[in-house]
Amino acid sequence: MNQKIISNDFVIRFAGEGGQGLVTSADAAAKAASRSGYYCQTFSTFPSQIMGGPASSQVRISTTQVLSSGDFVDVLVVLNQYAFDNHIQDLNQENGVCIYNAQDCVPSGEGNYFGIDADKLAKESGNTRAANMVILGAVAKLIDFKLESIESFIKDRFSRGRPGDEEIIKSNIIALSSGAKVAEKSGFNVGSLAPSKPPKHDQIIISGNAALSLGATSAGLDSYYGYPISPATTILVWMEQNLVQKDKFVFQVSSEIEAINNVIGAGFSGKKAMTATAGPGLSLMSEGIGLAWMAEIPCVIVDVQRGGPATGLPTKSEQSDLFACMFPAHGDVRLPILAPGTVEECFIIGGLALNWAERYQGPVIIMSEFSLADRSENIKKPILSNVIDERRNSKSSDNGFKRYQSLGKNGELSAMPIPGNQAAYVANGSEHDEIGDTTHLPKHHIRLTERRFGKLSLLNDAHFEIENTSSEIVIMPWGSSKGVAREAYEKLISDNLNIGWIYSICLNPLPKEVLNELRLKKIVIVPELNYQGQWSSIMRMDGINAVSVTQYTGLPFKPSELAEKIREKIKQTMEV
């Protein structure tokens, strides 16, 4: 047996069929590890069906913040032959180990793998449902993860005040150790997980969609309307469970066309309103989004991207809705876009988008993405008292008040009165005059077009990052590719490549500092998951010399592959 390698980082993947509890296994491992002070990030991929079909779920455990789902798998658990055949190539060639389900899988040839009959061992433990624990015990042994931490996790999880709790806990612990014994006997080991360096602050473990929902709720979300669609459904379900309070309203309506018009009605009536959807729903909403822009009604639309167009890849990763989100409606529009890159940013943006909608009196789009929405991560516990609940300026006097004045000299926006109070007006989707009545006069169309674009400058307090300004080449990821791009960037920097880093959670309007910096750059390289290079196209439109590194597999980038692609792209563009 080789000497054990001490590593800061392991990827553990469970692969099999949908409905086999793969997600639960990865979540349990993530929870157990994060309780022991490690950082975790899960990632799942599954077909668009409830039971069956090839699926997998993994967790990356690290002593430092996890940025991506990683390059390789260190411990691969396969529950059937198909899973073995399709995942074995991802196994770390150096010292990765595969555990296969001895009942359903006969691997060909020799390799770093061994079989385990989890069902049999579970039965022997006295709990036929503890097969996952058998596997988890084997996995833990392979990376020298303390079984006691998992035992304490089991105790917490099954201490529910029910009569059978004791027995269930006991059998699960037996199952865990029987799995560990098989792994020990196999003689394999992947390495030793370095001791954790637990953060000093409190933590939570949460998915991107839940973090976004929680962020919105803590910033005063009043009304939520939605229609089920992958991968946004979990936001609707979260709201139905949690937005149950006096003077709040949450409802599953009958289409995305209804949902967008519902949030327009709610926003007009003075409430903070939100809906969430994916690409197909966004397309149905486009006319409504145009109305919210034209009539200047605050509302938030979340687009949790998946592969498109049409039904496309409903449960896969793609960042291909940027054109559709920034220019969703006919006519002259350019919507404010907030695109979170981490689970923590999902929380922040959930609230910020609602506040922006109130501040600039219009629709704000949040662009999340399947892999970000669905993954769980342990993040710093947000401090709720720090969250701002910004409300629109609704102060108005009755006397000759004009809702749709031109912007003031310093960009001031006239107030938006709330029904039931004075200074009533008509919010009009036709071009209108100061009080909202329809007009076709050029002076009003000019004036209000300029108002609608001009007030975007009020949205100027989003987070951005600029690093290594001396470099003429810069990497600028957006949205869910942030983490993996960061990992690739750090790799390239450690290889002494002189490149810079620019990141903005707001893609429109770009913060002035970011725009100025981008315009100075010789090349801006954008890693993004779409064919056309949508973000670099938009930046070129704005006079920035941007090129994309694209991928359209339905899966996120892998950090090493991305680093290579960036290196290649730099070479190509420098040669030209």
Partner: protein, 287 residues
């Protein structure tokens, strides 16, 4: 041009039925506002697109709040308002094309939810603003600009449709008697739940049905409008069904029942379940 805004450049054609509906709506809003002692600005009018939609700009007297939205979506906009702000008097004004054709998909789910919304549907059997195309309530065989050889489809019976979906208050009237019409609009506003007042509001330019509705003895036209028998029991679903199956345009209250509104149900749900505060929700994610 409206009284309050000389620059407003939309006009209804002379004799348009919508003038009568406007007067009826103004009367109903005035009475409702006085009777319930609410601010006049607690009335919100949601309009779709079409001739009818311009109603929202033309209300005389102190301006209520309004949305002049997009074609066909007045019901979901109104649902967003009334569900989020049940204290407001939410009114939809729509045309037959707007409400029954492009907006038809919203009637059934709205009826099942029973939100507290009053809908006034101005039915002129034609698309007026786009210059005379056929609508769901145009007659079969009717010649319009989009059916130059006569309309092929069956004519829709909107009252039957509302009744089938279970709209909880259904009245039918015409625009020629604003005072009578306003009584039904007022009743509809007072009704807790989804109410529809379906109004025959003729288009004098493209589909002038005044004579057909009211009849003209000199021309030998009998008139299709008839006053609903005073013995009609609007709480009797079967009788209402028989009534709307009759030839002609009934004038009066067709059907009324009082199931709980969606907000009443939601309030009960909130009372019955422990309210969740954000701090507790956050703690549930602790590691």
């Amino acid at each position: 041009m409206s009284e309050r805004n000389q620059e407003y450049d939309f006009k209804w054609c002379p004799g348009c039925g919508d003038f009568g509906v406007k007067r009826a709506l103004e009367m109903a809003i005035n009475t409702f506002t006085e009777e319930f002692e609410i601010p006049r600005t607690s009335n919100v009018i949601v309009a779709g697109i079409g001739c009818s939609g311009n109603m929202v700009h033309l209300i005389d007297g102190e301006q209520p709040f309004g949305i002049h939205g997009i074609h066909g979506r007045s019901l979901p906009i109104a649902f967003g308002i009334s569900s989020s702000r049940p204290d407001l008097n939410t009114i939809v004004v729509a045309g037959d094309g707007d409400f029954l054709s492009i907006g038809g998909e919203h009637i059934a789910p709205s009826a099942y939810r029973n939100p507290n919304i009053t809908c006034i549907v101005m039915d002129n059997g034609v698309y007026g603003l786009t210059k005379g195309q056929s609508s769901p309530t145009s007659e079969t065989g009717q010649i319009t600009t989009s059916t130059p050889f006569g309309k092929l489809e069956r004519k829709m019976n909107p009252l039957e449709l509302y009744l089938t979906y279970g709209v909880s208050f259904i009245a039918s009237h015409y625009s020629s008697k604003p005072k009578l019409l306003s009584d039904f609009i007022l009743e509809a506003m007072k009704h807790k739940g989804m109410s529809i007042v379906h109004v025959q509001s003729p288009c004098t330019t493209y589909n002038d049905t005044y004579d057909i509705l009211k009849g003209d003895r000199k021309k030998g036209i009998p008139g299709t409008a008839f006053i609903i028998d005073e013995n009609h029991d609007p709480t009797d679903y079967d009788k209402a069904k028989a009534l709307v199956a009759q030839e002609g345009v009934p004038l009066g209250l067709i059907y009324r029942k009082e199931p709980a509104t969606i907000n009443e149900l939601q309030n009960k749900l909130i009372m019955d379940n422990p309210s969740k505060n954000v701090e507790d929700i956050l703690s549930s994610y602790s590691i």
